[in-house]
Symmetry: D3
């Protein structure tokens, strides 16, 4: 049941099937794959729904039994699917081979001619969708997929601005997308200039602004200030810093520039990674949840702890409850069995 204080959050992006061999097997080594649905914006939505928020997914899926399964997957978490289009194109999907130790995971995408890439931008009732929303979340994947997706997103951002909805942006630049003709970096800058919360770090800022900031906390502060100068709508920047021993063992801490000062969290050691996918989305979801309920410092801690916990959860989305995340912030890392 939704909390009284639950926020309404709109996520716009592809609902993509993930297919991966069991454990650490390669596709060539087996004849069975696990599958379910994900997508960076949906992952954020799922995590927020599990935390008790009221989430609406806007997307397009295939009009066949795969698209039907996709919608059922979203429904499962109590996310609204009334604005998920269906069309005659096959649903997007990706194959994942899960790495370990020094071996990286590998991903192969099949999405650029898929249902979401062919979304009907004009058929999205943005005003109705956004009219009572608290947050609108987008990522750099969506405008990279197709002109349709870009147009739809831009329109959504404009309507959200009109309606006073807070826009959270995770504008990662993925160079292997952006095949449809537009220049990725400038598109991202244009869209960031329509947004309010920047979820990303020095890499993303450098990509968008064409700058060359370093990676220290001070550099991050400087980069954030420069970003806010050039993209005045942005008020705060939330980032996490990852140090990788290998694919199975990493460290994470969070840092943020809230327009006035640098905030950082303590660093968590993640010694046994179960699933690396979607950990950034877990951070984003934690931050968005925090923005609706906490101050900046706790927001950053909540995002960071959510991100850390996601590494121990199979799948694309963080399924941790609010108390699990708060427990981790409180220092409970011992993993004692809950009976």
């Amino acid at each position: 049941m939704k909390d009284q204080a639950a926020k309404k959050i709109v996520c716009f992006g592809e609902v993509i099937m993930r297919l991966s061999p069991e454990g650490h097997k390669l596709v060539q080594q087996t004849g069975q794959m696990d599958y379910f649905f994900g997508g960076t914006e949906l992952n954020v939505g799922v995590s927020l729904a599990v935390l008790g928020e009221n989430v609406q997914q806007v997307s397009a899926v295939s009009d066949d039994f795969i698209g039907e399964a996709a919608v059922q997957f979203i429904n499962k978490f109590g996310i609204q699917t009334g604005h998920v289009q269906r069309n005659q194109h096959p649903n997007g999907l990706y194959f994942l081979e899960v790495g370990a130790d020094v071996r990286p995971s590998r991903i192969s995408y099949n999405r650029l001619n898929a249902a979401f890439a062919n979304i009907d931008a004009n058929a999205i009732a943005w005003k109705e969708i956004l009219k009572d929303a608290d947050f609108f979340h987008w990522t750099g994947i969506t405008p990279a997929i197709s002109e349709n997706a870009y147009q739809a997103l831009k329109k959504g951002l404009e309507v959200a601005n009109e309606l006073g909805v807070t826009i959270t942006a995770d504008p990662a630049y993925r160079s292997n997308l952006w095949k449809y003709g537009r220049e990725g970096r400038s598109v991202l800058k244009e869209l960031v200039q329509l947004s309010h919360i920047f979820i990303g770090g020095v890499n993303e800022i450098n990509e968008i602004l064409g700058t060359d900031f370093g990676y220290s906390d001070d550099d991050f502060s400087e980069a954030s200030k420069t970003l806010i100068e050039q993209c005045a709508s942005i008020k705060k920047v939330f980032d996490k810093v990852r140090t990788s021993l290998n694919a199975s063992w990493q460290k994470i801490y969070g840092r943020a520039w809230n327009g006035e000062s640098l905030i950082t969290t303590s660093e968590f050691e993640i010694t046994h990674i179960v699933d690396r996918i979607g950990t950034g989305d877990a951070f984003a979801a934690g931050v968005i949840y925090g923005l609706g309920h906490f101050d900046d410092e706790k927001t950053l801690q909540f995002g960071n702890a959510a991100c850390v916990l996601k590494h121990s959860i199979y799948g694309d989305a963080n399924l941790s409850g609010k108390q699990d995340i708060l427990d981790l912030i409180g220092g409970n890392t011992g993993g004692r069995i809950k009976r």
Copy 2:
């Protein structure tokens, strides 16, 4: 080890991944799928390779770990893969929900923008490929996928004709393909007019010629004669006739017009279908094997028995050995355990 008398057969077509939930589950009911590779022409090739023939697959797959797995799948049967192209497009795939009893199987394709659809028609060394071939096999799927595939096939057929290679055609018309602009029926007729053995029945003849023959054995003879009149390169027509009680229980017999007379086989009852996919390909492979080794009557029996056996074999391709098929022709249907 290849037989002395082994024939060389070239198959041209898509190598497509098949993904299906275990048993009779729906995609929405589970989180695991079985997968492997198929494709109507590859299925024919696999079956012929298992029968001891020397098979070459011409195709294009994705240049990623899925395409690598596809090539390994073909290699496994000792089929030559030296003329399988790799490109940057995702590999074709299809999802299958396996029906039972009165419930039909359902298939959803993702192939029209895939690696094979983007095959480089000019890069296929048809002369080298076909120079010592006995048979070249194609189906109506290939020219339905894309202009590239159509052009490549047409060129192959022309070279095969030049080199005196026997061309076997399985020109089924699939109305849900043919999205790239050409009119399917006339393309198929054009390509049949370059072929020598027609593997198909009244439906296929009616589609291609625009005729309206009935389904009796006499009608089939008439239809075959008319086909040969209009497509003079065709010398023989091989067909199987299926009667379906439901998705699990069917009956099959074979019939052929060899240019002079009608040949028929006895009818086999298939009371427990394991996998309905690829049974037509099993028939085609059996016929092609027969053409290289048997007279017309035994060729038809061999094709029909191969088709019947395929219904009891999981997967897309018939993996029956020659002796298994001959045993069935000999009336051994009792299924006694072979120790």
Copy 3:
């Protein structure tokens, strides 16, 4: 998306976990079980939701990760779960060993001290739940589980009568339940007297009325008339007649007394049963859908065809779409692959 003409249907009953070894294995033979959720009233609700109706499930599940999974299962189909209680009792479950041929399936229940048995009857907001409902569905399982469940159901039926909601009853008597003290047959009679549509046959009528009618169609008509005499709220009786060759091969036809005359359908042969569980619920759902959209004859045909199709679908609930059922009524039993 829900149809304009979609009906609102309220289902009240246990959401129970089903656990069963794969295929035809026994529990003692393996170390893995498939699981999902069912329950006779939920099965009806799922089927109606798949058909496009607006369904509300009223129930109680455990307040742990099993109950959470149960709610997600219901959500998946777009069924409303706002009135599913959670309590500290473990969730109900049953183990199923799937029979075949002459070997019967076996079921072992663990439900009589479970969350649903401990439902808080006073906490159900029946007036709110039923205020715009078209149908309220119940079965003989619910009042057999506990006094709480009985009280909750009775109150629901009373409110539904006040609000003019049509009540459909599937009042099967299960002698191995009814452990909490009430006499099952008289309770069922009491509740049938609050209902309008009787989904059941001679067995159920004999149980409830203490009569001894035979099993012919004429006997069924007589039994139905007698039922309506003694339970005046009942307007129509819908039944299906099953003939079992064995656990894998059965025949089914439908018959109904609509208050005026006997209606029957043709008989369908089901030669390869995939899952026998929930076939009665599929019939009930088909009848309820028909009542909202069709005349009596088509309603019976729709229920019967839905029941037949369910035998080929894995799981507890019929997942067939409307068109699949109509195709079967139209005689399309051949199971031709849908591409």
Copy 4:
């Protein structure tokens, strides 16, 4: 808990691991196999233990973690394993590809240099083992494996005769075994001449006696009489007659010559075979159980019904309870769910 009237039965033979791909897949089609343990004499023992008898298995397994698993498998059913030797040879095993419809199952054995083939014949304490036994069961597999196995069996039969234990023989001749030097048919005759109950039919009699009887019931009676003339220790002959439509659909009835007259049972149709392996062992176990508790006619019915039921049970051994078998004798073939 063992019945008061439980019989003690000693089974002597190999405990062999069965490995088979899931469902109807071929070994080449998958990367997973199901496994457990069987062996024709153990199958008989398991079935008798499930029926409540007191069973002792005499055998030899490998002294490694496979042999340990084998012993645990036997223990599971409450069968005594105190006389199962362990040695340094690998455990016997076989691979099974499960056929369907017209496709036969295929088996490949790895047993002739295994632990059981190397059993230490002198180390078996036959007098202690057999001292309070009611039955000693052997089959034609055991003496076919190795000289050691033959010597051990012969000694056991001699001791059993001394101690007045009833010996049941299932002396099937398997031509693909018998690699160690002895002539199978004459060995089997020698051993049958030490036995009392012959579980086999015309084929086995013809093999052993070198006769050429036909397959009618009258032929069977004649063959049985001749067998008893030549092997005077034999008192009764129990046989089942199988008619195979294909690997999935067969018919079975039982017949016996009890020294005085022919007894037959009605024929059962088995339309959906789950597992064909061990159905003969199920018959043998049913007959042995009957010999200890019933008259000849009921013994034959019990053996035949046990055999029929086994076709619907996964694995090598019949796991049906006594009541299940009696229900089937009573004509209950409808497979109604047992709740």
Copy 5:
């Protein structure tokens, strides 16, 4: 085969089914669960049986196919099951979601109205069961489940005392049980006063005595002395000390107070936990084995090494052999493959 010097050990407690999704998946993320049987006292028994001891399990299971599977599970290890009752209540079970890294495992129980909770305390033939026993083992779970279980345990302890059987107690207090009315701590104290070996540490002593000792080795010695003062039957206290980096990486060492002095072991680092469940039971089993065969120091080392090894073994029970444990005591931690 049992050793000459094998001890007879009686374990009394629930035989509970464990159900858990594969790997680190949540119940909501999959449709398959692994299952088998455990229970804290059974885990001790299994481990002791694997070590060669003669074990008798006293319990009650459901009289259905789940209870049958439970008995088979116990039989498998050669544990005596002649005093396992069967009754009409469903068998106890628990669901486990396996944590990793900073995410804790979660358990949900369904046992308080199950077969064991309804054990018939008067029907247990304690005198016969215990007459030649060396040890009787109990834990704090059993008296927490129901009045019946408490009464049965108390009677067993009294008889054991009469017969001079050494009683080992693992009296952990689980606050989420104890729903049937008795006050847990005082019951545990009453039962400890009937026992001889205390397997537990400062937490357990504080719970039972209401004291507040700290966690240092000195504190442990003091606590042990106080325990022995208040519960004079107790002669020795065995404890293990766990330090948790997270759910996957922990450290363990053992300490004991043998009535005279403190004994400690070296600490083992467990860097990759496979299964955390039952590690305390592995310690207990190792200690009990040691008590029957070793001096106090080696007993503690054996218990501690057994506990460490259990973390690398899937399932509830330690299946390590004696040599495996001795190897670890000897410092062989390198995990070199045993061929």
Copy 6:
């Protein structure tokens, strides 16, 4: 497609089936095993084929469906199988229980009477096979299996010497093989004296020469020099040094004596081992690849990095591509996802 500069490498050895329970389960704990094919020399061949070399496997497999699957497995990687014999003996196989943390893996072999042990040494066309080969690879397993295998290997080595093929030897001594009568150490010395590259370290040298060198890098240099003195054909020695924290966490570095000086690599930490089997074969394959393409230092680095990567790859063979290995040499250990 094979590189221009691809080397031809001949591998001679058993193709053995590996069977292992999923994850870290024991054989006794489950009823399913994963399987595929391996064998130390085949593992080297697979790795070299994946790296683009032209590989020929010489072996003997069973003439049944297991042997067929073995050949398909080899074919899959594009390895030539024209000189794989088939005979009537069962195929070799081994069972593996995968250890973790302080628990070692356990292996049980079934190979000494298998197809490869019975290879027809006279039927191998060594001259034809080796005529254009660059390398011939053998290991100490092959001559340990049977007289036939020894004779075949010796003949191959002699022919290779005649034809100037470089022979790489991995002459590990396995004391639990060598059951057929020859003395292992002297046979290995004889065969090393026919070889050119020694892939092994101090242990192997001590075994073969009967020396007692220590394990420091200096000791290794001395041992290598002594080896080359006594076995003059040997030109270089390649070794890897493993330090094991436990079965899941180890460290590796490489060292070589190239006839003139000691070369060493940096040490890699492997914190999460996925599969320990075949890591030595990965080293050997890396070295052989290096010998054909790199200088000694890079050869050693390539072998060592290949070995490190193999620990993260499921199965017997290293499937890493050339770039993956070079990336690791370049210090890229962070395991960043490759999209």
